[in-house]
């Protein structure tokens, strides 16, 4: 059943409410998305009918829970076109996934003088884990610049990715500017230098088709809660041979084969990473979220957001004192627009918008190096998703005009 975008709003009960007396316009999707009733119901069903621990029992409930928990791997495989569901590891989110790559893989291979290449636009969760690894190994961080469209520039990458580079880690889509990076080209460059390509897909996987084989990347991290799934879920995908080399970080139950008194053997990939009782309900809910996204089609979602951007960005730019960060071209904004109103701190802007029922984020968006590059302490950010409508976009424009009036 293919649903029209205009029909799916009814699937999101939370959107049907007023905030400060105004209909809610939820434009903070880059921080976390809302959940359709299908996902919420899946959690309820699981707890009402199937709840049990996984991989630990012959009894029927444990079998059912295990089957549903494992089924999500296959859905993730389809979502990102992974070669095998055995390469799909469950995590708490993007942050945990990147930390695991950093500590379980990179820390083992890096030597003093080796280089890790990032960009100025990275989220703190794609900076701080690498800083920690550098402290442990003596490796260094190198940052790629951004061009006027807010993307890393291939020419700059060619300068900075070289023989010393062992790993490149980039967000496919920036959570501040919304710009799409040329991941395939950068991955090629990384591989030409025998470096590993890590991609932070937190803002891309929920919004566009992502194909790990076509991009030819080595690791991909993303978060379930930003793509209609429950909080506390995320995915680490990695090429099988790299996951084999990567060490687990959570040792204990679930992840072992045999435990002797002074040593143990671990399960195979991916289970060796999943120590302790996992977020079983969350993973099952994430599976439902993926079904939902795939039933609509990621290409449809991307086209819908693109149409919204093409409509709203010119309108926003007509507001007096509207300062846009990143590219003036709507095509360079994958649902994300960061801005300020001249002379106004984004906290003030966001408070006025909230009074109008419009939820946006104000702050540094966990990207302080990016803020420094932009030369601002903070920005406001409106981020759209599949259930946002033309009316939502118009309400944002209207509320920003009112903000201008209020502070006149």
């Amino acid at each position: 059943m293919v649903k029209k975008i205009s029909e799916l709003r009814a699937d999101f009960p939370i959107l049907d409410q007023t905030v400060n007396g105004e209909p809610l316009v939820y434009l903070d999707n880059a921080a976390s998305s809302q959940k359709p009733k299908q996902v919420i119901q899946k959690l309820v069903d699981y707890y009402e009918h199937d709840n049990a621990n996984v991989h630990r029992g012959v009894h029927t409930l444990s079998q059912r829970a295990t089957q549903a928990y494992e089924a999500t791997r296959d859905k993730v495989k389809r979502l990102i076109n992974a070669p095998s569901e055995r390469e799909v590891v469950y995590t708490k989110g993007t942050t945990e996934a990147i930390n695991w790559i950093a500590r379980g893989y990179a820390q083992k291979i890096l030597k003093p003088g080796d280089e890790i290449v990032l960009s100025y636009a990275e989220h703190h969760s794609n900076i701080v884990p690498w800083q920690q690894v550098c402290e442990q190994t003596g490796a260094k961080l190198v940052y790629l610049d951004l061009n006027k469209r807010g993307q890393v520039e291939l020419a700059d990458a060619k300068q900075k990715i070289g023989q010393k580079t062992k790993l490149v880690s980039l967000a496919q889509v920036s959570n501040v500017l919304g710009a799409l990076n040329p991941i395939k080209e950068i991955a090629e460059l990384a591989h030409a230098n025998q470096a590993i390509m890590v991609v932070d897909g937190a803002q891309s996987v929920p919004h566009m088709p992502v194909d790990v084989q076509a991009l030819d990347i080595d690791f991909l991290a993303f978060s379930g809660h930003k793509m209609l799934g429950p909080t506390g879920t995320g995915i680490l995908w990695g090429k099988r041979e790299l996951l084999e080399l990567m060490s687990p970080l959570d040792f204990g139950g679930e992840m072992i084969d045999f435990v002797e008194l002074d040593h143990s053997t671990f399960k195979e990939v991916p289970w060796k990473f999943e120590g302790g009782t996992q977020n079983i309900a969350g993973v099952i809910g994430l599976g439902e979220a993926i079904d939902y996204l795939l039933s609509i089609g990621l290409d449809q979602i991307q086209a819908h957001e693109q149409a919204l951007m093409a409509d709203v960005l010119p309108k926003l730019q007509q507001i007096e004192g509207f300062e846009l960060y990143g590219s003036p071209d709507p095509k360079d904004h994958l649902g994300i627009i960061s801005f300020n109103l001249a002379g106004l701190h984004p906290h003030d802007t966001a408070t006025v918008l909230d009074m109008e029922g419009v939820a946006v984020r104000a702050g540094h968006h966990c990207a302080q190096p990016m803020m420094r590059k932009l030369g601002v302490p903070a920005t406001a950010r409106a981020s759209f998703y599949l259930y946002n409508t033309q009316e939502d976009a118009d309400k944002l424009v209207d509320a920003l005009q009112k903000t201008r009036e209020f502070f006149k």
Binding site: N20, G21, E22, L344, H345, P346, H347, D348, T351, V352, D354, M355, E356, G357, A362, G363, H364, Q368, M371, P377, A378, K402, F406, F407
Partner: protein, 150 residues
């Protein structure tokens, strides 16, 4: 909702202080200096304090970046603390925080002067940290010493 509820937050006096903050800048001869950050939004506040011979606040100055509420609050705080002892300031800081989080029927105006216009922040929980930043800074500068200058 009409934006009139915002008038409780953005009172005229608050907008004036934010647009033209008092005691803005720095104090080359400061006795105490401190830099505080609001990690959730990246705002930075630098505060410099000069004490007189009896230990009272002789002068104070602030700089940094922040929203209307944090700038106005800092400006009003500087107006109110000059001439006060560190013990009096501590009492004011406590009263300010109480006023916007758990108001009692205390006479806040007597303790805080014009800064009572910030009481409307209580209805905007997301903005409480903006309002308290400067008060925390003066408290820490005096109690914990900030950086002592020779």
């Amino acid at each position: 909702m009409s934006l009139s509820s915002l008038d409780n937050l953005y009172r005229q006096m608050i907008l004036e202080h934010a647009n033209q903050p008092h005691h803005h800048g720095n104090l080359p001869t400061a006795d105490k200096q401190i830099e505080l950050r609001n990690p959730t939004c990246g705002d930075v506040l630098e505060l410099a304090v000069k004490l007189d011979d009896s230990g009272k606040i002789a002068d104070v100055a602030f700089s940094g970046t922040g929203c209307t509420i944090s700038q106005a609050s800092a400006s009003m705080m500087t107006d109110e603390v000059i001439g006060k002892t560190p013990a009096q300031v501590a009492e004011m800081v406590e009263a300010f925080s109480e006023m916007i989080t758990a108001k009692t029927d205390k006479d806040y105006e007597k303790l805080l002067g014009d800064a009572v216009v910030l009481e409307g922040v209580a209805q905007f929980p997301a903005r409480i940290k903006c309002a308290t930043l400067a008060w925390k800074a003066i408290y820490q500068a005096l109690q914990e010493g900030g950086h002592e200058h020779e």
